[in-house]
Amino acid sequence: MRNISLIFKKVWKSAFVFASLSFLIVTVTQAQDVVEGRTLFKDKCASCHALDHDITGPALTAKVNELDEAFLIPWIKNNVALIASGNKQAIEASKFSPSEMKTFPTLTDDQIKSIIAYAKVGEPKKVAEAGAAVKDEGTSSLSIVGIIAIIILSIIVLVVLGRAVKMLERLILQKQGIAIVEEEGVSLATGVRRLFKNKKFVAFFVLCLIIVLGSFGWMGMWETGVHTGYQPVQPIKFSHELHAGINQIDCQYCHSGAFKSKNSTIPSLNVCMNCHKNVQARTEDGQISPEIQKIYNALGYDADKQTYDKAKEKPIEWVRVHNLPDFAYFNHSQHVVVGEAAIRKEKGIDPKDPVCFACHGPVNTMEEIYQYSPLTMKWCINCHKDADISGKKNDAFYANIIAAHEKIKKGEKITPAMLGGLECGKCHY
C-alpha cells in the first residue's frame, strides 16, 4: 500500500508541477527559459543567492532588474577576469561582500539568460500552492477511510431511499383503497432466522468466517513487529528527496559515521548549518522557511543577527525509523565498507547509486523517510546466505580463509554464511 500511495503521490505532484509550468509557458514570455533557469538557479546559485533578500550574495531579482545582460553574462561566467580587466561596474559589484563569487565558465550565454529570466519572474506561486495541496491529500489510510465512508453513506442513502419508496407505494395503495397483504413474514429478522436454520448455509458461513479471521490473524501475526513502511511524523519535515535526490548530496556528508562506525549517525546541527546558514528558502514576504527555522530554534540561532544563544539550545528529537532490537548487533561500516561490493552485486544496486540503497531503498525519492526493508532476521540471513564474497580473495584479511574454503567447495561461490556469518554469536552478544 505504501508504495502505491507513494507512486500516487508522485504522479499527482508531477502532474501539478507540469500543469503549473505549462500555464506559465502560455502566460510568460520566454517561459522555457524560466523553467531551465529555475533548475540552474537551484543548482548553481542558491547556495549563495536568494531572489528577494541578501545572504552571502545580494538579492538577485533586484540585481537583474538593475543591471543589464551585457554586464551580467561576463560577470557570471568569470567575475574574477572581469574585475581584473578593470571594469568599473565589476569593481563596484565586488564590494558587496569580502567573499569572492565563484566563476561559472561552463555556463552558456543562453543558460545565463534563463537564470536571469527566472530571477526576474521569481518563484511561480502556484507551484508551491499546488504542492501543498498534494501533500494534504497524502496518506493512503485517509483515502481508504474516505472511500469506505462514501460506500457506507451511499448504502445508507440507498436503504433510506428504498424505505421511502416503499412507504410512498403503500400510501398510494392505501389511498386507492387496496388492502395491503403483508408479505410472508416480511421482517428481515425472520428471514435471517430462517436462513440460519439451513445447515448447509451455517456450515458455509462458519467456514468463511474461519478463513477470513484465520487469514487476518495469520497476516497480523506474521507482520507483528515488522515495520516495513513505518513512516513516523518527524519534528522537522526533512526531505531526503530534495537533499539526496535533487541536490545530490552524498549520504556520507550527513551520515558521516556510516563508513567508519557501527552507527551511521544522525547529523548534528552544525552539519545542517554548513548549508542552511545561507539556504533559508525564504518566502516572498521574507519569512524563513518554518522547517529551517526549526534548526535555528534548536541552536538558538538568530538568522538576522547571525548570532547563537547557548541558553536557547534544545536538541531535536527525531523519531527513530530503523530500529533493531537491542540484542542484535549491526555495524554499518562492516556492510558499506567491507561488504560493499558483495552487497551491490547481491541487491543489484546501480553503480551510480550509493550502496546504502540496498537496505534503505531509494532514499533519493523519499519525501519523508520510511522503513524500506523489513529488518527481520530472515531478511538478514537471506542476504548472508546468498551474497557472493569471492571478490575478497585478494584482500589480505580474507586471503587464507577463502583459500581454505575453496579447496573444499571447489567452484561454489563463497558466501558470508560459509565464513560463519550465520552463527548466533556473530550478531547476538
Partner: protein, 1019 residues
C-alpha cells in the same frame, strides 16, 4: 595417574562432612519444591472443568491484550554540535591516572565505561588492579552529592566561598593554626597548591596520614640511611624473596608493580630459561602473597620480631638478644635454611617485612644491607612516592585540636572519623575547631561533622597529576564533564587563597610546563597523549648500615612480649589487615568490589574473624558462629568466624575497610569496622593487638563463593617441583599418557578454517588477585547480585578464580598424595594453595550444546561456544551438564528490580554499561563469551584496513587487566601466535581432558620451587 594429590576447595569438602556429601549429591543448591507440590494440594486436588476453561480463557485474553501493545516510539537525539573527536559507536581512549597507576580510559559518546592499560606507561603497562577496574562505577554512584553543602544544606559555590574565606580570615586574624589533613598526596601540582595556600595563610600545615600506614619504613630509612623515603623494590632482580607478613602481591605498597616484577621471574618465559625465583613467606594470616609462596611458614604476630632477630643473627653471626621463637620449630628450621640461602644469593635476594614498626623495619634494613640488597633489589635513590603519611603528625593534630589551637581544618581524600584508630578522641577534638571543611563527594563519616562539604568530582572528571616514583610522572585528565555541581579540591584551595591562577587545569599545565616538561624535553600535548613522563633514573647506590641494633632489638623484644599474651583458647593475637577487595574502605560503596570474592577465603560482602581449624576446635567455635572480639581498650565488635587453614595457631585476622556507616547504599553497614583495633605506639600505627573472644550464640552465614561447586576429587590441578620440571618439563602435567581423542562429529567434519580462538593460562603466573574478575564484570555488564543471592549460589561472575588447598605432610614434608592419608592429617596450618582461573572452556565437544532444547547455545566455526540470549528459554539443562560449572542463570532483572537497589537499578548508574554487550534479561543463561565483542571489533578493524589479523590485535578484558600476564588469548590456527606456542608447551594440560570435551583453554602446570630442604622445614 601422574598426580594423585588431593586438592580441596573448602573444609567441608576435605572432611566430607555429612552436609557437604548431602549437598553434593543434590542437583540443585536448594531443593526443588517438587515434594511439596506432590504431597500438598498440588496434584491431588481436582481442577473443575469450568475453572480450567476460565483460566485458559483468561490466559488467552491476557496474552492477546499484552500483544496488542503498540510499538513504542524510539527517540533518536543527535548532538547539537558534535565534538570533532566523537563518532557515535567508536570509543575514544584517554590517558589518566588512578591512585598513581597510569591507565587508559575508554569512553563511549562522552561517558567513561572501562579502565584499560596504558601501553606507554612502563611498569604500569602490564595490568591494573581490581580497584582501578572497578573505579568507573564510582563515577556513576547515586550516593554522591549533587551540590556543595553548607551547614548540611545545599548551597552555591559563591556562598560557600564567602563563608570559608570569612572563616579563614578570622582564623588568620586570631593567629590560630590551619590544618589540611589528607591521605598521601602524590600529585606535585596539588602539593604546589597546598604550598600556595600556606603562603597566603602562613599558619597552615599539611598533615598527611594513611589509614594503612608505611611510616615505619620511612622512619627506619631515615634512621638507617638519612633518607625518609619508601624505597623502590625490584622483585624482578631477586632470585630469593623472603617476606615477613608483607602482602606484596596484594596490598603492600604497590601490589600491581610488584606482581609484574615477581612473575617475570616465575612465568613460562622464565621457566623456559630454567629460571625461577624462590619465595619464603613467614606470616600470620593467609595472605594472597602467602598463597603464592614456595614455602609458607605460619608464625604468630609475636614471633615476627624474634624471627627477624634470629635471621639477622644467623646471617651476620652477631648475637642480638630476643631471638627466641618459643616452640615454633618449623619456623626455626626455616629461618636457618633462609639464612643459608640468603648468604648464597648475596645481591640477588630481598627481605621485606609488612610491619609498620620502626625498629622492625630498621632490623630489616640491617639484614638487607648484610645481604647486599641495596643497589640491586632495593633502590633508595628512585623512591616510591605512593605513601608519605606520618602517623605522629596525625596524632599530634588531635592534641592540637584538643588544646583549641586549630581554627580551621580541611579534609582532603581522608576520612579520619571512620579510619582513625581512636575515632571518638578525634571526633571530640574536631568539635573544638571553628571551621571544618571536607573535600568529599558524599556525606561520609567525617563530612557529616563538617560545616561545609566542598564536593569534589571523581578522578575521571578531574585534572591533575601524579608522581608515583622519583622521576616518573603521569597525568590525570578528565574524560567527562563534571556530572554534578562539583569543584576540584585544588581549585577550591586556589580560590580561597586568591591565587593568581584560579583554574586548576591552567595551574597543572603551568606547573608541568615549568618543571617536568622542560626536563623531559616534551610538550603538554605529548603528555596528554602518552600520559607519562619518565626522567632518567638515578643510579641506585649501595648503602651501609652503621646503627647499633641493641636498642632496636630491645624494642622489638618488648613489643613482641606485649603481644604474646595469648592463651591459645579465648585470648588471641589479632592481626588487622587490608583485604584485597576492600583495601582501606575508601571505595566501600563500589558494588563490584564488595562482590569480588576475597582471593583466599572467597568471602564476599563481609569481613570475618579468621582462625585456624585447630584454633576453632580449641576455642570451641564452629564456622559462622558470631563472636565478640574485645581488646584491652574495651573496643569490641561482633563478627562471624571463618575457619582459615594456614592461619597461625593462637592468632586471628580481621580485615579493615568494612563497617562504613555513611558511604552509600551498597557499602553501608557491610561488615564491621576494625580500625579501632589499630593502635598508635612508639610513633607509628600498629596493626596487631591482643583480643579476647566470647561467643554470642548467634550464627551468621558468610556469603562465600568457595564451596559452591565441587569437582568430585578429579585431577584438575597439576603441579610439579622446579627440580622435577628441570629434569622433565612435562613433569606433573599428565602429558605422558594422553587419552585417546575421539571425534564427536564423524560424519560431518567440523573444521575451523578461519580462526580458532583459544586461551592459555599460566598457573605459575596467576597470583589469584582477582582484577580479571572485575575487568570481566565491567566489560560484559555482569550484574552484582548482593550478599543474600551469593549465599544462594547465584553469583553471576563469568570468570571465577578457584582456590585449591593441598597438604604438606608433617612427617615427610611431601605434599600428601593419598586420599586415605588426608584423614590422618592434623596440621592444617601447613597447606599449599593453587589459584586457577575458571571460565567457559569453549569446548569443541561442548556438553552444554547437545542438551539445549532450543539451540540457544551452539558452536561457532572459530572455536567459540556462542550463547544467544534471546533464544534461551531458561531450562538450565546446559548449566547442569557443564563439567566446569561456569554457566550462570539470571534469576532477576537486576537492572530493574527494587530488591537490587544498591547497584544498577537507576538510570544514572546504568550509564556504566558497555553498549556493545547486551544486558541480559531474567530467565536467561549466560557465560563467558570470550569477549566476542572485542574479537568482532578487532576483526572489523583488520577488514577495514585490508590486512591480516595480527597476533595481539585482540585482547580479552581479563587478559588486559592481568598484571601477571597469566592469561594469553589468540588464534590457534596461527602457528606463530603466542598462544599456539604456549599450548604446545610440555606444561600445558586441559582440565578434565579425560572426558573428551576438548576444551579451548589450556592450563600450564603450577611449578613450586621446593626441594628436600624446604620439605624438611615443614616436617
Amino acid at each position: 595417574m601422574e598426580s594423585n594429590k588431593k586438592y580441596w576447595k573448602g573444609l567441608e569438602e576435605l572432611k566430607n562432612t555429612p552436609a557437604f556429601v548431602e549437598n553434593n549429591k543434590n542437583e540443585f543448591a536448594e531443593p526443588l519444591p517438587i515434594e511439596d507440590v506432590l504431597s500438598e494440594a498440588g496434584l491431588s486436588t481436582v481442577t473443575p472443568r469450568r475453572d480450567f476453561l476460565k483460566a485458559l480463557g483468561f490466559g488467552l485474553g491476557a496474552v492477546t491484550l499484552a500483544a496488542c501493545q503498540t510499538t513504542p516510539v524510539h527517540k533518536s537525539i543527535p548532538y547539537l554540535i558534535r565534538p570533532e573527536e566523537v563518532v557515535p559507536g567508536i570509543p575514544n581512549y584517554y590517558v589518566s591516572t588512578f591512585k598513581g597507576q597510569s591507565v587508559l580510559v575508554k569512553t563511549v559518546v562522552g561517558r567513561p565505561i572501562k579502565i584499560e592499560v596504558n601501553p606507554n606507561a612502563g611498569i604500569f603497562s602490564t595490568g591494573t588492579d581490581a580497584q582501578a577496574q572497578a573505579s568507573v562505577l564510582d563515577l556513576y554512584d547515586v550516593s554522591k552529592l549533587k551540590a556543595p553543602l553548607l551547614k548540611k544544606a545545599e548551597t552555591t559555590w559563591s556562598k560557600l566561598d564567602e563563608f570559608v574565606k570569612g572563616e579563614l580570615n578570622k582564623a588568620q586574624a586570631s593567629g590560630k593554626k590551619i590544618r589540611i589533613v589528607s591521605s598521601s598526596l602524590n600529585s606535585p601540582s596539588a602539593k604546589a597548591v597546598v604550598a600556595d595556600f600556606a603562603v597566603k595563610y602562613p599558619t597552615t600545615k599539611h598533615v598527611q596520614y594513611d589509614a594503612v600506614s608505611y611510616t615505619g619504613i620511612i622512619k627506619a630509612n631515615e634512621n638507617s640511611f638519612g633518607k625518609a623515603v619508601l624505597p623502590k623494590y625490584n622483585f624482578d632482580k631477586a632470585d630469593l624473596i623472603v617476606s615477613f607478613a608483607a602482602d606484596f602481591l596484594g596490598t603492600w605498597i604497590s601490589g600491581e608493580e610488584f606482581t609484574a616484577q615477581y612473575v617475570s621471574n616465575r612465568n613460562h618465559k622464565s621457566l623456559e630459561k630454567g629460571k625461577m625465583s624462590r619465595h619464603f613467606q613467614f606470616e600470620t594470616g593467609m595472605s594472597l602473597t602467602g598463597t603464592n609462596a614456595d614455602s609458607r611458614i605460619p608464625i604468630k604476630l609475636s614471633e615476627e620480631g624474634p624471627a627477624l632477630i634470629t635471621l639477622y643473627n644467623a646471617i651476620t653471626g652477631s648475637n642480638l638478644a630476643g631471638g627466641t621463637l618459643g616452640n615454633n620449630t618449623n619456623a626455626d628450621k626455616a629461618l636457618k635454611l633462609v639464612a643459608k640461602e640468603l648468604l648464597q644469593n648475596k645481591g640477588k635476594s630481598l627481605v621485606v617485612s609488612g610491619s609498620n614498626d620502626v625498629s622492625t623495619q630498621t632490623l630489616v634494613n640491617a639484614i638487607n644491607v648484610a645481604i647486599g640488597s641495596y643497589g640491586t633489589t632495593i633502590d633508595l635513590d628512585n623512591s616510591n612516592k605512593r605513601y608519605e603519611g606520618n602517623d605522629a603528625e596525625f596524632a599530634e593534630l588531635i592534641n592540637e585540636m584538643n588544646r583549641g589551637e586549630v581554627a580551621a581544618v580541611f579534609f582532603l581524600n581522608s576520612n579520619p572519623v571512620y579510619d582513625a584508630t581512636n575515632s571518638k578522641a578525634f571526633t571530640d577534638a574536631l568539635a573544638k575547631v571553628a571551621l571544618k571543611v571536607s573535600f568529599s563527594d558524599r556525606v561520609d563519616e567525617t563530612s557529616d561533622l563538617c560545616d561545609a562539604v566542598a564536593i569534589t568530582p571523581n578522578y575521571l572528571e578531574s585534572w591533575g597529576d601524579a608522581n608515583t616514583y622519583e622521576g616518573f610522572y603521569s597525568i590525570v585528565q578528565p574524560t567527562i564533564n563534571p556530572v554534578f555541581n562539583s569543584r576540584q579540591a585544588e581549585q577550591s584551595l586556589l580560590i580561597w587563597s586568591d591565587g593568581a591562577v584560579q583554574d586548576y587545569y591552567k595551574y597543572v599545565r603551568n606547573n608541568w610546563e615549568a618543571t617536568v616538561l622542560p626536563a623531559a624535553g616534551k610538550t603538554w600535548n605529548d603528555v596528554l597523549q602518552s600520559g607519562v613522563v619518565t626522567l632518567t633514573a638515578k643510579p641506585a647506590g649501595a648503602y651501609t648500615f652503621a646503627l647499633s641494633l641493641d636498642a632496636v632489638a630491645t624494642s622489638i623484644a618488648n613489643s613482641s612480649k606485649a603481644l604474646a599474651k595469648g592463651n591459645g583458647k579465648d585470648t588471641l593475637e589479632l592481626h588487622v589487615y587490608e583485604s584485597i577487595p576492600m583495601r582501606d574502605g575508601k571505595h566501600a560503596n563500589n558494588a563490584f568490589l564488595q562482590e569480588l570474592p576475597d582471593p583466599v577465603s572467597k568471602v564476599t560482602w563481609d569481613n570475618y574473624l579468621a582462625i585456624s581449624p585447630k584454633q576453632a576446635e580449641a576455642s570451641g567455635y564452629k564456622e559462622f558462629d558470631v563472636v565478640t572480639i574485645k581488646d584491652e581498650k574495651g573496643t569490641s565488635i561482633d563478627l562471624p568466624v571463618l575457619i582459615q587453614p594456614g592461619q597461625a595457631m593462637g592468632t586471628a585476622s580481621v580485615a579493615l575497610g568494612y563497617g562504613r556507616t555513611k558511604v552509600g547504599k551498597a557499602g553501608n553497614n557491610v561488615g564491621q569496622n576494625a580500625f579501632p583495633f589499630v593502635s598508635f605506639n612508639n610513633g607509628t600505627l600498629k596493626y596487631a593487638t591482643v583480643v579476647k573472644l566470647s561467643g554470642t550464640g548467634r550464627t551468621d552465614e558468610l556469603a562465600q563463593t568457595q564451596t559452591h561447586y565441587s569437582f568430585e576429587g578429579r585431577n584438575i590441578i597439576r603441579e610439579a617441583s622446579l627440580k622435577d620440571y628441570l629434569k622433565d618439563p612435562a613433569a606433573g602435567s599428565g602429558n605422558h599418557h594422553k587419552h585417546k581423542v575421539y571425534d564427536l562429529w564423524t560424519t560431518d567434519k567440523y573444521e575451523k578454517l578461519g580462526n580458532d580462538w583459544v586461551m592459555a593460562i599460566d598457573l605459575n603466573a596467576c597470583t589469584g588477585c582477582g582484577s580479571c574478575i572485575v575487568a570481566c564484570n565491567v566489560e560484559n555488564n555482569i550484574p552484582v547480585v548482593g550478599k543474600d543471592e551469593v549465599r544462594r549460589r547465584r553469583e553471576m561472575h563469568w570468570l571465577r578464580i578457584d582456590r585449591y588447598y593441598s597438604f604438606n605432610d608433617e612427617k615427610t614434608g611431601e605434599n600428601v598424595t593419598e586420599e586415605k592419608e588426608i584423614a590422618h592429617m592434623s596440621n592444617l596450618d601447613n597447606v599449599s594453595v593453587v589459584h586457577q582461573p575458571m571460565l567457559c572452556q569453549h569446548c569443541d565437544h561442548a556438553p552444554c550444546e547437545t542438551v539445549c532444547p532450543v539451540l540457544a547455545t551452539v558452536h561457532s566455526s572459530d572455536g567459540l561456544n556462542h550463547m544467544a540470549y534471546n533464544r534461551c528459554v531458561g531450562t538450565r539443562y546446559c548449566a547442569n551438564n557443564c563439567p566446569y560449572k561456569v554457566r550462570r542463570f539470571n534469576w532477576f532483572n537486576y537492572w530493574n528490580d527494587s530488591r537490587f537497589d544498591n547497584y544498577l537499578n537507576n538510570e544514572f548508574t546504568q550509564l556504566v554499561l558497555n553498549p556493545d554487550v547486551t544486558t541480559r534479561s531474567r530467565g536467561v543463561m549466560e557465560k563467558c563469551s570470550m569477549c566476542i565483542q572485542r574479537i568482532q571489533a578487532g576483526k572489523l578493524t583488520a577488514k577495514m584496513e585490508k590486512r591480516a589479523l595480527k597476533d595481539g590485535d585482540i585482547k580479552m578484558a581479563c587478559q588486559q587487566a592481568c598484571s601477571a600476564n597469566a592469561i594469553i588469548f589468540g588464534d590457534k590456527n596461527d602457528p606463530n601466535s603466542e598462544v599456539s606456542k604456549l599450548l604446545r608447551s610440555e606444561r600445558t594440560y586441559y582440565v578434565l581432558e579425560e572426558i573428551n570435551v576438548q576444551p579451548g583453554i589450556g592450563y600450564m602446570t603450577k611449578i613450586r620451587n621446593i626441594d628436600s630442604e624446604t620439605k624438611e622445614v615443614h616436617a
